[in-house]
Assembly symmetry: C2
């Protein structure tokens, strides 16, 4: 289907230019931007609710949330204490740079430490659309099965971290954590995997630490002499 | 993002022409074609494994399976007794008419009663690509959450049936079957929902009956005087 590939490449290239501008905007404001992607229902919103509560004392945070329809997720995140702007894509299968740039108007970046972007629930298309983020995270969940890394390799290859959610349900599935870790290592050996349960709270401290370290790395980059 | 919409419309229109040809091909061969779509890991392959075993005595069946990478799903379905052709889309987020047409070469349609198409795990893009099928089914699963119908409305609106899988896990989640049924009714009141557990086998008889009725309806259409 060469025609399709050609068209998509043009769209992705145009998006990449916007992403580079966004990356500059984030850096000038000194805000860490984390782009979260996953299958529908893997737990991105639950993770952000937990993050809103768990890191409220340490960081000033906000969120941009992408969904085909409804503002349910943004409402949930707001109720947890994190300001959140909802983008409805209509039928769109991913967030793009223009949507994120427009949504930034609702936030004062220079008053934020961390901006989260919750992408559309889709393990395919969001992976090829750079939003200028510093860190990209795939949220996977045990009921989806342990073979997702090799079946959706692009998303995992482009990620900086993996959160494996719903560990509380692992015994009710045939999910093998060892197999999952092996598949991730096959795709990208350096990728760290943080096992959590947003329901019970288990493991979330590891996620909070990962976020804090990413934030620290950005601060060191911005002020290398301050260490 | 008007450019994107224009490009996609052209692709969808070209695909629609191919889909009409495919629909003719299916009808001439007298084979029922069912297109299955879902989030990654909702259980399409498990449902097809169960179908291979549960309906082997009644129908001659085959499958075309779409994935970004690997032939794991096709192997599972073949092991369950249903001939299956794997399409690897590379990065492609859905199956299209051309891919399906090419894959048909591996099957003798006139010797089949039912052809299943397992689409790429993605609740967004496959919904707008007609493959000429007679019936379209969304497989949803309880760990994904009960709000998926309103968050991914296009997939549900375009479906002819919904299989709600992983009912064995419903008590381990905060999934409300009543809320799910209400959301589906909001999107498309006529849509039937079949609750199953591919793990325990519960409810599969309802799915087998749905498939058999769809097959019967096709036979009646092909030979209206034979009733």
């Amino acid at each position: 289907m060469p025609k399709r590939i050609r068209l998509d490449k043009a769209i992705v290239t145009a998006n990449d230019r916007l992403a580079a501008e966004l990356a500059d905007t984030y850096d000038q404001a000194g805000v860490l931007v984390v782009n979260l992607m996953s299958s529908p229902g893997a737990g991105k919103t639950s993770l952000l609710e937990a993050t809103a509560r768990g890191l409220a004392d340490r960081f000033r945070m906000a969120c941009i949330d992408g969904d085909l329809a409804t503002d349910r997720d943004a409402q949930r995140i707001q109720r947890a204490g994190m300001p959140c702007t909802q983008i409805n894509t209509g039928g769109g299968c991913h967030l793009n740079g223009k949507q994120v740039r427009d949504a930034l108007d609702a936030h004062r970046l220079d008053r934020l430490d961390i901006l989260f972007i919750e992408n559309v629930g889709n393990l395919v298309c969001p992976a090829v659309f750079d939003l200028g983020e510093h860190r990209r995270v795939v949220v996977s969940s045990t009921p989806e099965g342990d073979d997702k890394p090799i079946k959706y390799p692009v998303a995992f290859r482009m990620a900086d971290g993996v959160v494996l959610n719903k560990m509380d349900m692992v015994d009710a599935t045939d999910f093998s954590v060892e197999a999952f870790r092996g598949y991730v290592a096959d795709i990208k050996p350096s990728l760290s995997i943080i096992e959590v349960s947003c329901k019970t709270g288990d493991g979330l401290v590891g996620w909070f630490q990962w976020v804090a370290e990413a934030r620290d790395a950005l601060s060191r980059k911005a002020a290398p002499g301050a260490e």
